[in-house]
């Protein structure tokens, strides 16, 4: 089981993702430079957080044209797992591998804080080690995380169980105040129609060891490990 972690110019969570999947999870991993044309046998592609291309124009808008993205899209079309975290989620939306878009946070502030999430779908290849309705505490750190889409897109995501994580309050309710960015319907993470591409704004790779304040992100990597190794 091998993770391929893409490094774009401006990525800054690639080391965190590498640490999480190698030192903590015990899997193999390889860094993939954005100009590469080959996934080097990676079973799972991780598009990490950061500020690829300085977030110029729109977050993720330029990274989606990096050469490696052609291979990432082909991998996704073959059913290969792809996870985009934070800037990676923005890139997946810009690339059309996930629907919708991520806009400037409603309060116009960069938010860096732990948030509460509810697992809305525990059947995906990314979340089957969690329970449906389980509450997680993961950090967010973004300025453009307000997920948006037209009503039809949002209804389809909801109806097909493709909303995977939602921002919730301490009681587990998706109130407006619980969302750090004003995202539509408190959506924090979604999967593709085929279920093999996940995008999420919170950072599971920063919550995999007690010393980091939470181990709630580990289940996501364990889910992928169990599913891909099986």
């Amino acid at each position: 089981m091998k993770f391929g972690i893409v490094t774009f110019p401006g990525s800054n969570c690639d080391y965190d993702a590498y640490h999480a999947v190698t030192d903590v999870l015990g899997a193999d991993a390889v860094y993939l430079w954005h100009k590469a044309h080959d996934l080097e046998g990676a079973d799972v592609v991780v598009l990490p957080g950061g500020f690829s291309y300085g977030d110029y124009l729109r977050a993720g808008a330029i990274a989606r044209f990096s050469p490696i993205m052609r291979e990432v899209a082909a991998h996704a079309r073959r059913g290969g797992p792809v996870i985009g975290i934070c800037n990676g989620f923005q890139i997946l939306c810009e690339a059309g591998l996930l629907p919708g878009a991520l806009l400037r946070n409603a309060n116009l502030q960069f938010v860096s804080e732990p948030v509460r999430l509810r697992v809305e779908n525990a059947e995906t290849m990314f979340t089957h080690q969690y329970r449906a309705g389980q509450l997680l505490r993961l950090p967010v750190a973004h300025g453009e995380g307000r997920f948006t889409g037209d009503a039809e897109t949002l209804d389809r995501l909801e109806g097909d169980g493709r909303v995977v994580f939602r921002y919730v309050d301490a009681a587990g309710e998706p109130t407006a105040d619980a969302s750090p960015n004003g995202s539509a319907r408190n959506i924090a993470g979604i999967v593709s129609a085929e279920g093999n591409v996940l995008g999420m704004m919170p950072h599971p790779e920063r919550a995999v060891e007690a010393v980091l304040g939470s181990t709630d992100g580990l289940g996501l990597f364990q889910s992928m490990l169990a599913r891909v190794s099986a």
Partner: protein
């Protein structure tokens, strides 16, 4: 081939919350400009493009908008001007 300066306006689509625009509209109201019904803040891009004629320059820039410069999910764009250089 001639050169053209092409100006593009890109704004958040109507119906999409534009917190910057809303804040600016509120500030204008505070200053007494009560006739402002709405403000949307986007970006203005000026390209220097070589093309056979103005129509070709416009067509090329529209494709650039569709593929990169504007996000079709959240933004509307218009070509505000094509000027020969």
């Amino acid at each position: 081939m001639s050169r053209f300066r092409v100006s593009i306006h890109i704004v958040p689509r109507k119906g999409i919350l534009d917190p910057q625009g809303k804040t600016v509209a509120d500030a204008l109201h505070t200053l007494g400009f009560r006739d402002v019904a709405d403000a949307r803040i986007g970006r203005h891009i000026v390209l220097d493009v070589a093309a056979a004629d103005a129509a070709a320059a416009g067509a090329a820039v529209r494709e650039m908008c569709d593929r990169l410069l504007a996000n079709p999910v959240t933004e509307d764009y218009e070509i505000a001007g094509v000027e020969g250089l």
